[in-house]
Structure formats: structure tokens, C-alpha cells
Symmetry: C2
Subunit: 366 residues, 2 copies
């Protein structure tokens, strides 16, 4: 999850990766062979410079190893090119942590200074807008970021996430998801130089209907929903507060990811983007894997909840009536995650936030 | 002073500029006509893109108005160019504040979104290294940043700043200042496209020997030194701690700024840089100006000290023996600035941190 609180981790000694970031790192490492292949193909088309963007970079810690390999590959494929690395995220991202990590002021092992003529910068322009000038991008990378919609297309009346939505409510999310995915691709089409590539690793619903936190065990989003619904039933929150808690996310299927790239008369295809490869993969939850080894349900519950909390807390908090004092809202949110933790402790079997991603390579027509 | 604590200011309402940043803003506004002239000249030589760097940007608040004017001027001179704005500072700069301000999440009036095809990014590469690829820079700007040396070339035994140094100690600072200025220029020479320009506004010692905080009234650096010396005399600090407090700064004279650009056989001139214009100017201390209006010495002392403290505190703190507990060091530093504040309150006449800058335009041979 790109939003995880990695700053704390960054300040720890010995290049330590917490379990919270290890999953995200595994996802990116799994994409690295695709990145290296795409880099080599794109380098053939680059003139003086090779520009690499990491969209939704967060603090850059989880992509350091991939970025080192990509830079090595660019230098090998085209030794004369200057290399620009542009980290991008939203304006409220922690760019201070990013620069501390990339510039080697933490114990993370950075690639900077291993090669000459590598120019690093960061942008706070979201991937819903154009980030670099026309035809200047050679490799656009993104992992676990593009499921965040540009806006919430409405509340879901009986669930917290589109994976539990139905009918017209689901339709609105599908429509927003479709439009946002097209917007993302059209901006990238403008940015990409001919022959440039995108390697995108996005949350997906796979061929068997699996998705983040729903791979055969306990359904994570149904659990989120059941506990939140319980807060209505015991009078803790209002029906309106229940409904407000709707995550502004959409998980595309493989067909939905492919559609704008394959519709030959659509704007994305006409803008020159071509789908080279798409596949879904599951990366297992590192907390559940750890629990399988240590067997301590108390510890599992304690360690597992913060990673769920990191990317859902803000939406829960915003769902609560603003007439409530801030302390009361914070206390309610604490109680909510405590309830989730209690569930896991009492019956840990099957709890897991396995990652389900679509891994794609997209080419800009040369 | 680029290091001033502008983050707090950024969060205040109504586009408010504190007195602490008003001086820096006046300095940059004074340079704006030079920037606009340089932009128009450089735009004639730009191909697809125009790249503008703001080196030592801090949080970007004080240069917003200048940047708006520069972007307008680039668009007017060459409407088809994509514009890249690159804010640069050290890795420990507050980039979060920078992006909040530039992306319009504060009450600062940002230029972003006034034009299409303006691409903003930030780099944490210092101006002692190359920031952008060869021959891609069209306008390099910097205000009140390049007086910070790349390293401290030694302690000064009887003062806190090179403006009070003599003999071999001054010589070491002059030598470091000379080498650092040449390094800065050589990296810019590599970055600049033919016909590109630098507009640099740097602290200087002017033709009459005036410099920051020494323009005819109380000598600010002598005051820093006298109070610190007093701490040795009353047993508060050791002789070694006194000597450690040596600011790693050098203020060039007009001759020193010009020398590497005018020596026709030197590396900077051979790299293609030419001095187009240099002049010194004084921008009055906004706190002293305010005091002239309100006449309240208690208020003047209270408001004036934080701006001195903002860019000197870290060096004072580091000068103290690390064997002292952190709390003790902090308490000593508090006492130091209190002593300065007491002096100003008791006898406010002549205290002022007037700015003395050299304003330069430098051209890359086309």
C-alpha cells in the first residue's frame, strides 16, 4: 500500500524493512524483470536522455532496488544517455522522507552516486494530470497506486468498498473507474516518447474474483464492513456515517484494464498505446506468513492491524460527523481498529491481506 | 535568508508574509527585472523546452511572484515552449512545505494552473553538484543561498564569521570561497544550454565594505561574537566551544565574483560563461523599518531575534561540546539569543539586518 507509514521505517537502522513494507517491496521486485525488458526496448528509441517516472512513489523506499536495476539496465543498453528519475505522488506525500532515503541519509541502500549523469527529482503532480512534457517519457512505472479514484462517485449503502457494491452503486464506481483509467492512460500517451513503455502494477480483481484481502480466507473488506455495520447496530455511529465510509477505490478486472488499449477506435488506442502484456499475480501477506511461522495470535493481531489502518484510517475518520469533537472521532476510530484486532486475536485463521495485482506492459507506438 | 522558518508562515491565513520572509521577498522582487530580461534573451535559444531552476528555493514562498512573472515572460517570448520549473535545495530542506505552497494548498497565491504545459518538480541535489543534464538549462536563478560553503575550511580563533577573520584564517576562507564559487559556476556551465542565463543574487561585501548586518549601524556579526565571547569570559562555554562557532559562509566582493568569469584563460571562461552585469544593492531590514514606525523597543527585540536565530542556531548548537546533555545545549542556546534580545531591547538604535547582495547576470556563450 503506497500510503503505509514508511517514514518511521526509514529512520530505523540497518536497512531494515518492516513487514508493512515488505509486501509492497515483493510486489515491485516481482515486476522488475518486466521493467528491465521494457527499459531495454525503450532505450533503443531514446535520444539524449532517458526519463523514468515512479508514479505514486510514496517515500521511494520500496522501489530502490528496482530503480538500481533499471538504471544499470539503461546504462548498459545505451551508455551515452543522461538518466532522469522523477518520483511522483500527490502534494501531501512525504517528500522529505523520499529525499532522505534516495539521497542516502538513512540506512536504506540507495543507488544514487553509483553512476554519473543520473538526475533525480520529484513532482507533486498526480497521475490524473500530465507530469512531464510531451514525448519526453521513456519508462513510466507505477505500483499499487492507481486504484485510488480521482473522486468518490457516491456512497455505497451496504458496504465500504466497491468489491461489495451492487446495481447502480457498483455501476457508478465502474463508470468512474473506467473514466479514470482512460484519463491516466491518455496523459501517459502524451508524455511517452515513441517506443516508450509503461510498466503498471495495479490492484485488480482476477479471473477467479480474488482481490486484495480476499483470496480464499477471511474476506478483509467484508470484515471492515461487518465491524462498521456493528457500530450502527450498537448505536455508536449513525446510518449516514456508515454510508459515508466508502473507499474511493476501484479494482479493475483484466478485461477492464485491457479495454481502452484494445478498442481500436477509442482515444487511448488512437493516442498510440498498445497492450504488450498483462497477467495477474498474488503476493502473499507477509504478516500471515509470519504468523504461520510464530503461531502467536496475539502478536499477529497486533502487527497485522496497523497495515490495514494505514490506508483506511483517513476515510473512516472523514466519514464521521464533523459535529463530533476531534477527540471523539479519534477515539471511535481507535475503537474500530481495536475491534478488528480482537477478531483476529480470537480467531486468526484465514486473516491475510494478500495482494492481487495486474502486471502490465504498455508500449507507445514508435 | 533561505533557511528562515517559513513553514509556519505558509500555514497562516490570507497569503500573509511575515517580516522574516518579507526581506527575502524584496530581494527577489528587486531581481525580477533582471530575470525577465534574461528569460527573454534565453528563450530565443530554447528549442522545445525552457527549463528554469530556483537553486536554494527553501519553501518557494518568497519566489512565487517572481516565478509567475518569469513564466508569463517565457510564454510571451516563446509561446510554443514547454516550461519546466525545478526547485532545488539540500536534502534536508522542507520539500513538503514547498509542494504545499506551489500546488496551492496554502493561502499563498501560486502561479500553477495559470498556464498549460508548465511542469514543476523539485531536486535535492545541491548547487555544488550538477542538477540537470548537460545543456538543458535556460535560466538558473538563486537568491541568498550561495554564501554557504561546501565545507568549513577551519575555525576562526577570534570571531564567528569570515567578515571578522584575519591573516591565514581569512586566507583559508577566501581560498574555500574561491574554489566553491568556481565549482558552482562550472556545474552551471555544464547545465546551461547555449544562450542560457544565470541570475544570481548572492550575499556580498560591497565597494564600501558593507555586508549583511553591517551597513553603518551596529555590526551584527561583531555582536554575535561579543556575546559568544562573553560566554567564555563568564565560564559558560570553553575556549574550544567558542572557536567551534565559525559559520561556514563566505561573502565575495564584486571582484571575487567577477574574477573566474573574466580570467580569459581560466576554466569558467573557457566553459563559456560570460559576466553580463553585476551590481550591489542594499535591501533594508524590515524589522528595523517596522521599529522606526512603532518605536517599541521591547517588540522590536522580540520580533528581530528569531530571524537571526533561524540561520545561526544550528551552528551554535553544533559548536557546543557533545559531552553536554542535549537539554543543556539547548538551554545555553536559548540563553545566548536572550542575551542578544536583551541588548537590542536596552539599546535598539542601529540594530538592523540589512541585506547586502551582488546581483549578477551571467550568459552561456551561444
Amino acid at each position: 500500500m503506497a500510503q503505509a507509514g514508511k517514514t518511521d521505517v526509514a529512520m530505523k537502522g540497518g536497512g531494515y524493512y518492516s513487514l508493512a513494507t515488505l509486501g509492497a517491496k515483493h510486489v515491485i521486485e516481482g515486476a522488475t524483470p518486466m521493467v528491465l525488458k521494457a527499459v531495454a526496448a525503450a532505450a533503443d528509441h531514446a535520444q539524449r536522455e532517458f526519463t523514468f517516472t515512479d508514479m505514486g512513489c510514496a517515500d521511494g523506499g520500496t522501489s530502490l532496488t528496482m530503480m538500481r536495476a533499471a538504471i544499470d539496465a539503461i546504462r548498459t543498453a545505451a551508455p551515452k544517455l543522461d538518466i532522469r528519475v522523477l518520483y511522483t505522488d500527490q502534494p501531501r506525500n512525504d517528500y522529505n522522507a523520499l529525499f532522505q532515503i534516495v539521497y542516502g541519509n538513512t540506512d536504506f541502500d540507495t543507488y544514487l552516486d553509483e553512476h554519473q549523469r543520473v538526475y533525480v527529482a520529484a513532482s507533486a503532480t498526480s497521475f490524473y494530470r500530465q507530469i512531464v512534457p510531451d514525448a519526453t517519457l521513456h519508462l513510466g512505472f507505477s505500483a499499487t497506486a492507481m486504484h485510488w479514484l480521482s473522486r468518490k462517485p457516491g456512497n455505497i449503502s451496504d458496504h465500504v468498498h466497491m468489491v461489495g457494491a451492487h446495481g447502480a452503486e457498483l455501476e457508478r464506481f465502474a463508470e468512474q473507474g473506467h473514466r479514470d483509467w482512460e484519463t491516466i492512460l491518455l496523459h501517459r500517451a502524451a508524455e511517452l516518447a515513441p517506443g516508450g513503455r509503461l510498466v503498471l502494477v495495479n490492484f485488480a480483481r482476477d479471473e477467479q474474483g480474488r482481490h486484495l484481502g480476499n483470496t480464499g480466507g477471511v474476506h478483509m473488506f467484508d470484515t471492515f464492513n461487518a465491524i462498521w455495520r456493528g457500530f450502527v447496530e450498537d448505536g455508536t455511529i449513525s446510518e449516514q456515517e456508515y454510508r459515508n465510509m466508502t473507499l474511493p477505490q476501484y479494482y479493475n478486472t483484466v478485461e477492464e484494464f485491457g479495454a481502452p488499449l484494445l478498442e481500436t477506435h477509442g482515444p487511448v488506442h488512437r493516442a498510440g498505446l498498445r497492450l504488450e502484456h498483462i497477467e495477474t499475480r498474488i503476493v502473499p501477506c507477509p504478516f500471515a506468513a509470519d504468523f504461520a511461522a510464530h503461531g502467536d495470535s496475539e502478536r499477529f493481531a497486533r502487527e497485522y492491524i496497523p497495515t490495514l489502518r494505514s490506508w483506511t484510517e483517513a476515510t473512516f475518520f472523514d466519514a464521521l460527523n464533523r459535529a463530533r469533537p476531534g477527540d471523539e472521532r479519534r477515539e471511535l476510530i481507535d475503537r474500530y481498529y481495536s475491534a478488528y484486532q480482537d477478531r483476529v486475536r480470537a480467531d486468526p485463521a484465514g486473516h491475510a491481506m494478500d495482494y492481487v495485482h495486474a502486471y502490465m506492459t504498455i508500449r507507445k507506438h514508435a
